[in-house]
């Protein structure tokens, strides 16, 4: 697997708060990877570190094989970024926004960008401030795609869009990736969207990587075990148990399947992506590296 993005023990601190801590993760090239996690997990921080808007406090990040701080020109011309705020200059027309893209990006694809906006029915002479939220998102995406990026970073691309605009945006994304082999890393709260377009998953929690890998493989590696009610303390103590639900006389455990067969009397079911993600989000300790022991902390 070649990595489009590789973080090694990456940490970022804002004053006294660690937004990312010892984060090591690889984003595979040529795939659509979802970055999932609760608010404040460090998703935007990771994306900003990847494009070089932020410098790491410790550790390293390589984007397409380059250090975004040392070789920003290499990274910036090959990476498209659509921040959550979808920043555009409101007093520019759409045409002027494209002019800016052309002026600032050596790999700019004017024809494809114009036809993309034409297909979406976005008038080029309209001012950005007069566009709808969905149209603005389309212009932001078109600006990022116009760079002919090798890597596309999208922060909550579907947030604040109506269902139709969301579907159009995601369709656009899948089409482009299929055509150009672009790597995509997108952060999202919407598991349905992730399920529809992504094939890889990174779960980020409290600034650490909790789980990362191919979505199908991750689902294979986990099972939902349903059986007679057990002592919650026993379930919580088992390191293979990601989350446990105790209801009535039944206990449902979402477990990492390490080849062991379930005990007698237990039913084993495949897990959905949503169950998998929610189980990890509900239990931030699961999958995270253990906290440093006193000996390590002292050294």
């Amino acid at each position: 697997m070649t990595a489009a993005l590789e973080a090694t023990a990456l940490s970022k601190r804002f004053h006294r708060v660690w937004a990312l801590r010892d984060c090591s993760v690889q984003v595979p090239a040529g795939h659509i990877t979802a970055l999932v996690g609760p608010n404040g997990a460090g998703k935007t921080t990771l994306l900003n570190l990847a494009i070089g808007l932020l410098a790491p406090s410790a550790g390293a990040i390589e984007t397409l094989g380059w250090d975004p701080q040392r070789q920003p020109e290499r990274v910036l011309e090959r990476v498209g970024y659509v921040p959550q705020e979808r920043p555009l200059y409101p007093d520019f027309t759409v045409g002027e926004t494209l002019h800016m893209g052309r002026a600032l990006n050596p790999r700019w694809d004017e024809a494809a960008t114009r036809s993309r906006l034409l297909r979406r029915g976005i008038p080029v002479d309209r001012r950005v401030r007069d566009l709808s939220g969905g149209q603005r998102a389309q212009v932001s995406l078109a600006l990022a795609l116009g760079k002919r990026p090798e890597l596309l970073l999208l922060d909550e691309p579907a947030a604040a869009l109506d269902p139709l605009a969301r579907r159009e945006l995601l369709t656009e994304l899948v089409e482009t990736v299929a055509a150009d082999g672009t790597t995509v890393l997108l952060s999202s709260h919407l598991i349905a969207d992730v399920e529809r377009v992504c094939d890889h998953l990174v779960i980020l929690s409290q600034g650490r990587v909790q789980l990362a890998g191919d979505i199908d493989a991750l689902r294979e590696q986990h099972r939902l075990l349903v059986g007679p009610r057990m002592d919650p303390a026993v379930a919580a103590a088992d390191p293979a148990v990601v989350s446990a639900r105790h209801a009535g006389r039944e206990t449902a455990l979402l477990v990492r399947r390490d080849g062991a067969t379930p005990p007698a009397g237990w039913r084993s079911e495949p897990v959905s992506l949503e169950e998998l993600v929610l189980a990890y989000l509900a239990n931030p300790a699961a999958g995270a590296p253990p906290p440093p022991t006193l000996v390590e902390a002292a050294s």
Binding site: L53, E73, Y81, P83, P87, L104, N105, R107
Partner: protein
């Protein structure tokens, strides 16, 4: 980058252009049109007295042209300070930095080219303003204006002030990341620095020359000391000082009759009155020193702004 800088500042460019055009047209009207309207000029105004409007208008127009030029020379750099104060801060206020710094031009280049293009625009504007002023000065030559009196609106220092104001605004904008406090700080500190240097430092660029008068006797009934005559075009840079024959400063100069009585705080003649001044020949040297100071400050402030931009977020 040139296009983007222009697109984001074309409102400022239009404002500055309108100011310069208005000033230029006003000066041209005053200087060129007036003699055509009144071909006999001041002579007819003063001798015949037939045309009262001419009498009223001619000096009035000349005075107002002068005050507009002074105003333009003082205001133009502050306009550029405002431009500088918005160029970085506006990116932070509207999240534009997320857009600007994720395009194919790295942040360092983005800042350096922006600073360069704005500086070129500012200096071009200052050149136009300087040309207008020089035109006016040329037409008014011989009017007997003291050359030092126009030091602050002389074309050479104008370039330094303009660049300094632009750099000051840019640094303030990068510091606050908000437009209003950046503009406020820029205007206040621009005026503070200009006044400090004009009042406190300019007289000391070179040690002043001394114009002197030696007084051997006191004409009857005269009190106080007479002022020495500073050569034409010179700039008196301080109060006159009285010294005695031994070269000691006499603080409370009381000029006594000759021969002086011993009591009453009188000093023996002759008294020398010294008036420090900067001669007219140093005017352009002083302009050079002052422009070097302001260009140096501008470069330091651009370096600071660069550092702040590279460390932001």
């Amino acid at each position: 980058m040139a296009w983007l800088t222009w697109r984001q500042h074309r409102g400022h460019a239009v404002t500055a252009g309108a100011l310069l055009v208005a000033l230029g047209v006003g000066v041209i009207l005053c200087l060129v049109l007036l003699p055509h309207l009144y071909p006999d000029g001041a002579q007819r105004c003063t001798t015949s007295g037939a045309d009262q409007s001419c009498v009223a208008l001619l000096p009035q127009l000349s005075t107002s042209a002068w005050s507009w030029i002074v105003l333009g020379g003082l205001l133009f750099p502050t306009l550029l300070g405002t431009v500088g104060a918005t160029t970085i801060s506006r990116e932070f206020e509207g999240n534009g930095y997320l857009l600007a710094w994720t395009q194919g031009v790295p942040r360092r280049q983005w800042f350096l080219r922006r600073a360069l293009f704005l500086s070129c625009g500012a200096l071009a504007g200052a050149a136009v303003l300087a040309a207008v002023m020089q035109g006016w000065f040329a037409a008014q030559r011989g009017a007997g204006d003291a050359i030092w009196g126009g030091f602050d609106i002389s074309p050479i220092v104008l370039f330094g002030y303009t660049l300094f104001a632009l750099a000051l605004g840019t640094a303030a904008g990068a510091l606050f990341q908000r437009t209003s406090p950046a503009v406020a700080l820029t205007l206040v500190s621009y005026i503070a620095v200009r006044v400090t240097i004009a009042v406190g430092l300019r007289t000391r660029y070179l040690a002043p020359l001394q114009a002197s008068t030696v007084m051997g006797t006191n004409p009857a009934g005269m009190t106080g000391s007479p002022l020495p005559v500073v050569p034409a075009g010179g700039w008196s840079t301080g109060s006159p000082v009285d010294v005695d024959a031994a070269g000691h400063t006499i603080t409370a100069a009381v000029w006594c009759a000759s021969p002086p009585p011993v009591t009453g705080g009188c000093y023996p003649a002759p008294i020398t009155v010294l008036q420090p001044y900067q001669p007219a020949s140093r005017f352009w040297l002083f302009q050079g020193i002052e422009v070097a100071i302001f260009v140096g400050l501008a470069l330091a402030l651009f370096a600071l702004a660069h550092r702040l931009v590279m460390r932001a977020r």
